[in-house]
């Protein structure tokens, strides 16, 4: 870049419009859904969901610390089908966020940073999000009956 190209010179060029005139990038409704996009969105969604899950973990710790009568609340939640469903969702969210986090860690060191591998590893992350909680719950419900 030449020294003459100052900010003032840049802003006076005909193709540089003021910020409110600049075109917006296409948003979610415009893009065709694809695996890497869903993987990225799901990473943030599960992260926000786990914010609530972490609060519940602390509530669980406090209930254990508060004694058996307080823990009746935890028992009531774990015994209810909706509590089990939420627990399943939490394990799935942890599994997905961890698997997708590994993708990010690999990219951070420059490994597999290409569309093909990003696509394949996104599907792996979805698979782990389904397989890990299913395996854990299957073990939880059936293993001790064997």
């Amino acid at each position: 870049m030449s020294a003459a190209m100052t900010d003032t010179a840049r802003d006076s060029r005909p193709d540089v419009r003021p910020p409110e005139m600049r075109p917006l990038s296409p948003h979610l409704q415009i893009w065709r859904w694809h695996a890497t996009m869903a993987a990225s969105i799901l990473h943030r969604a599960t992260g926000v969901a786990l914010y609530g899950a972490a609060a519940l973990l602390v509530v669980w710790l406090v209930l254990v610390a508060s004694g058996p009568s307080a823990y009746a609340l935890a028992d009531a939640i774990f015994d209810h089908w909706f509590g089990q469903l939420c627990l399943y969702g939490v394990v799935a969210a942890i599994a997905y966020h961890a698997a997708n986090g590994v993708r990010h860690l690999l990219w951070d060191v420059g490994a597999h940073l290409n569309p093909k591998h990003a696509e394949v590893s996104a599907w792996f992350a979805f698979l782990i999000a389904i397989a890990a909680p299913t395996a854990l719950f299957a073990y939880f419900f059936f293993a001790e009956r064997l």
Binding site: G47, V58, L61, P68, I94
Partner: protein, 130 residues
């Protein structure tokens, strides 16, 4: 930087003081480092709790094992720090209004520190209380 050099910042951006706060690297690195620790701690807790905890007394005995007590404390503190960083990123991405943004960032910090203090109290109470 010498004034003759071309800058990527616009005149308006410079006047407003907009741009990098120069604290981003710490945020980036802290997110990654805590994520590596959580890659071990979170699956450990999910599996260990699923296998060993069925009732109140199970939970109490589980948390009174020294290794479990230390690991659960680490999980809570490292996890809460990681999620505070994550939610901070979400807030600055989506909330443009300065006051609302500052308020939400502060609430995020308060909420995570509150949970951390509660988790510490609980583990200490289980192991040294009553």
């Amino acid at each position: 930087m010498k004034p003759s050099q071309a800058s990527m910042r616009s005149s308006l951006g410079r006047v407003r003081g907009a741009g990098a706060a120069r604290a981003g690297s710490h945020h980036f690195i802290a997110t990654r480092v805590t994520s590596v620790a959580l890659l071990v701690l979170a699956p450990w807790f999910a599996i260990a709790a699923a296998l060993q905890v069925r009732s109140y007394s199970d939970a109490f005995e589980f948390l009174r094992q020294p290794l479990n007590a230390v690991a659960v404390t680490l999980l809570a503190l490292v996890g809460l720090y990681h999620m505070m960083l994550g939610m901070q990123e979400v807030i600055v991405d989506y909330i443009a209004k300065p006051v609302m943004r500052a308020v939400l960032l502060m609430l995020n910090l308060f909420f995570c520190v509150l949970l951390a203090a509660a988790a510490l109290w609980a583990v200490l109470q289980i192991n040294f209380g009553w």
